[in-house]
Symmetry: C2
Subunit: 418 residues, 2 copies
C-alpha cells in the first residue's frame, strides 16, 4: 500500500496545527527540546544503528556503489555528531522575533519588521540520514514544523531517527507533529508535497541536479533551490603563480563530492605557456583528469573538452579547462556556464578583482581564495540547511535567519488614514 | 499575427544582455536616466494622451464599466504624476552595493553580503498605464532590466509610454533594452514569460486574484505574489468604542478598491449588545452592505453571510461580520480566512495586543490603527512595486531593497581549506 496525496496532505495539515504552538514557543522551550532531542539520539544509538544496518544491507544487496553506501552508513560517531549538531543549534541566537528594521512614522505610528517562522517547511533530500536530524533541529529553532521526505534507501534510518526526535520533542512540551516523516514508499509523496500549496510554506530540495530541477519546475509550493555547483576558478594574468597552483588544487581536490568544489578552470591567455602547463601538471599529478579546450588539449594527457564538460558538475576528480582572452572573456564564459554557486578569481590586480566581483552573478564571488569556503560553517553561521543558488529570498549558505520570513507590526493609538 | 514563445524569449534574451550593463551602472548614471525619462514623458504628454485616447475609446466601445475606464484614462496631471514618481525614485538611495552584513572570519577572510540586481524582472499587470512608468523606474534604479506585460486594454498607452522611456534611457547612455514592452496581443505572451526560466529571474503579477493565482500556479520562473487582501479588523472586548467605530469606518470606506481596505469585521462576543449594533449602524449609514454571521444577521438590514463572504475580497462597499467568542477564536477565524495581507486588532489590553501580534500570520499585523496603512508610501519606502503576500523573499510593501538579491563577496590572500 503506498501513501496517497491525501495522506501527505493530512500530515501537512497536522504540521500546520503543530506549527501554531511552535511559533509561540520561547527560545528556552525550543532549546530545551533541542537538548532533549540530542540526548535521546545518543540514548537510542543502538536502535538507530540497527535500523541503519537494514538500510545498508538493502543497499549492498542492490549493488549500490560503495561511496553511496558509505554516505548512508551511520556509526556511533556519526550519531554523536548529529546530537552535537542539535546542541550547537540550541546555542545559536533565536532568529524569531529579531527586529530587522523599525521606525516611528511621521504620524506617530510605530513600524517594526520582525522575523517570524515560515510555518511548515518541506525538506526533500537524498541518501544521508544525518540531514534528518540537522533539518529537524534547524527548522525547530526557526519556529517551523518540518515534513522530512528522505530517500527510500534511508527509510529505516530516517524512521528510527524521527521516532526518537518526536518523543523528545513531546517530552519537552512541544507538539510531536512539528517533526514528521513523509513516507518514501513512492515518488508520489514528493509530488504530493509539491502540490500542497497553502499547507506547506516552502520546499527545500537537497540532492542531485535531477531532483532539484524537477522540484523547481513542478512545484506550486515556493521552492528554495539549493546546491548545484559548477564552480569556476579564473586565473587572471596577474595571478600569483604559486598561490594559483595551491588554490586550484585545494578547490578541486580538497573534497570532490561537494557543491563548492571547483569543476572548471579558466586561464588567462597570457599564461598559456607559463602557468597553464604548471596548473595542468599539478592537477594531473594529484590524480585529476583534465578536460581541456582546444588550447589546453595540446598539453600532454589532457582530454578534449566539449560544452558538456564546461557545463558539468563532475563531483569527481575531473576538471574542465578553458583559455580565455581576458577578464571580460572569462565573465562571458561564466555567463554561459556558471550555475550561480561560487566563482573565484585569482589576481594581484585590484581593478581586475573589482571588475570580476561586480560583473559575476553568483551566490558567492571569491577573490584569492578557494571555492571551498562557501559554506555556512566557514561563514560562521553555526548551522546550515543548504546553499541557495537562487536569487529570491536567500542566496548562498542558509543559516537560521534565512529559514524565517518577516512580518510588519504597526502600532498606533486609533490612527486612521486622513 | 500574434507574438510567439520565441519572440518573448528573444525579448528576454535582449533584456538579459542589457541587464549586464545596467548592473554595472553607477547611481549617477541611473538617476540621470530617471530624470531623462521624467522629462521625456512630460515633453511627450500629447503623444501619450493621444495613444491613451485610443485605448479609452476602445474600452468605451466595448462597454467597459466606467470605473475601469477611469483607471485606464490618462490626463495631463496623471502624466505629470508619472514623471514626478520617476524623479522621486531618482532621489531614493541606490540599493545596489549596499552591504547587508559583513565580518572578518577567524582565518582572516573578509566576508561581505552585498545587494545586487535581480537581473531581469517580468511585470504582468492590469489596466492602469501608470504602473508602466512606475515599474520601469523602480526596476531601473534597482539595476534590473524589466519586461512589461500590461493589459491588452492599455496596449496603445503602454506602447507610447515605453517608446518615450526607451529613447530617454538610450540618451542617458544606458541600453534601451533595459525597458521593453511584451506585446499583449495574446495570453500566450504571459505563458511565455512564465516559462522563461533562466532568462527571467523573477515575475511579479499585479492585478486581480485570478491573474495572480494563475501565475503563481503555472510559472516555472520564481514569482513574488502580490496583493490579494481579505483584511480583517478584530474588535476586542477591551477596544475603545469610539476609536473602534472610527477605525472600522476608515478601514472599510476610505478607499474600497484597494488591497488594504478592510473586508471583514470580527467582534468579540462581549460586545454583541453594545458595540456590535453601533458598528453595524455606522457602516450602514456610510453606505456599506453588512453581511453578518448568524448573530450579526439578527440586526436590522444585515444580510446573512456565507463562508464565501468571510473569504471574499469585495473591493466594494460590502463587509462581512462575524462574532467570535474570544481572541483565540478570532485567531482561529483568521487562520481559516486570512489572505495573509493585513490584520488589525483594536484593544486597550496590552496582553491581547501582544498575543494577537504573535499568533496572527500576515504580512502586516496592526494594533489600534486602520488596515489602510499597509502601503509603501505610508511606511516611508518612497516607492512601491506592490505588496507581497507571500513569505519568501519579501513580505508586505516592496520598496527598492526588496527588488534586489544579494551575493557574498569573499576576499582572501590565497586562502585554502585546511
Amino acid at each position: 500500500m503506498t501513501t496517497t496525496d491525501d495522506d501527505v496532505r493530512a500530515l501537512a495539515a497536522r504540521a500546520r496545527v503543530a506549527s501554531h504552538d511552535l511559533a509561540l514557543a520561547t527560545r528556552a522551550t525550543k532549546d530545551a527540546a533541542l537538548h532533549a532531542m540530542a540526548d535521546a539520539l545518543v540514548a537510542a544509538t543502538d536502535d538507530v544503528l540497527a535500523a541503519n544496518a537494514d538500510d545498508v544491507a538493502r543497499a549492498e544487496d542492490a549493488g549500490t556503489p560503495a561511496n553511496v553506501v558509505d554516505r548512508l552508513r551511520l556509526t556511533d560517531d556519526r550519531v554523536a555528531a548529529m546530537a552535537q549538531g542539535l546542541r550547537e543549534v540550541a546555542g545559536l541566537p533565536d532568529p524569531v522575533g529579531e527586529v530587522v528594521r523599525g521606525s516611528t512614522l511621521a504620524n506617530g505610528l510605530e513600524l517594526r519588521q520582525v522575523r517570524v517562522p515560515f510555518g511548515v517547511v518541506g525538506m526533500i533530500y537524498e541518501a544521508r540520514p544525518n540531514v534528518t536530524a540537522d533539518a529537524a533541529g534547524i527548522c525547530l529553532k526557526a519556529g517551523s514544523a518540518v515534513l522530512l521526505r528522505g530517500s527510500a534507501s534511508a527509510a529505516s534510518s530516517n524512521a528510527a531517527i524521527i521516532e526518537v526526535l518526536r518523543e523528545a520533542v513531546a517530552r519537552a512540551g512541544l507538539p510531536a507533529d512539528v517533526v514528521q516523516l513523509v513516507p518514501a514508499d513512492s515518488r508520489d509523496t514528493v509530488k504530493a508535497l509539491m502540490r500542497a500549496r497553502g499547507l506547506v510554506d516552502v520546499l527545500i530540495p537537497r540532492g542531485g541536479a535531477g531532483l532539484i530541477q524537477s522540484v523547481v519546475e513542478e512545484s506550486t509550493v515556493p521552492v528554495i533551490e539549493t546546491g548545484v555547483g559548477n564552480c569556476h576558478v579564473y586565473v587572471d594574468a596577474a595571478a600569483d603563480p604559486d598561490q594559483a597552483v595551491e588554490v586550484v588544487l585545494n578547490a578541486k581536490t580538497h573534497r570532490t563530492s561537494v557543491c563548492n568544489a571547483a569543476e572548471s578552470l579558466l586561464v588567462h591567455a597570457d599564461l598559456v605557456d607559463t602557468l597553464l602547463p604548471r596548473l595542468v601538471t599539478a592537477l594531473q599529478d594529484a590524480g585529476v583528469v583534465v578536460h581541456g579546450d582546444e588550447t589546453a588539449a595540446r598539453l600532454p594527457g589532457v582530454v578534449p573538452a566539449t560544452d558538456d564538460d564546461h557545463a558539468a558538475e563532475y563531483l569527481s576528480m575531473d576538471i574542465s579547462v578553458a583559455v580565455v582572452a581576458d577578464l571580460d572573456a572569462a565573465v562571458a564564459h561564466l555567463r554561459r556556464f556558471s550555475s550561480g554557486h561560487t566563482e573565484a578569481i585569482l589576481t594581484r590586480d585590484q581593478a581586475a578583482a573589482r571588475r570580476f566581483v561586480a560583473a559575476v552573478d553568483a551566490a558567492a564571488v571569491v577573490v584569492n581564495a578557494s571555492t571551498r569556503f562557501t559554506d555556512g560553517g566557514e561563514f560562521g553561521f553555526g548551522a546550515e540547511i543548504g546553499i541557495s543558488t537562487q536569487k529570491l529570498h536567500a542566496r548562498g549558505p542558509m543559516g537560521l535567519p534565512e529559514m524565517t520570513s518577516t512580518k510588519y507590526v504597526v502600532t498606533g493609538d486609533g490612527h486612521v488614514r486622513p
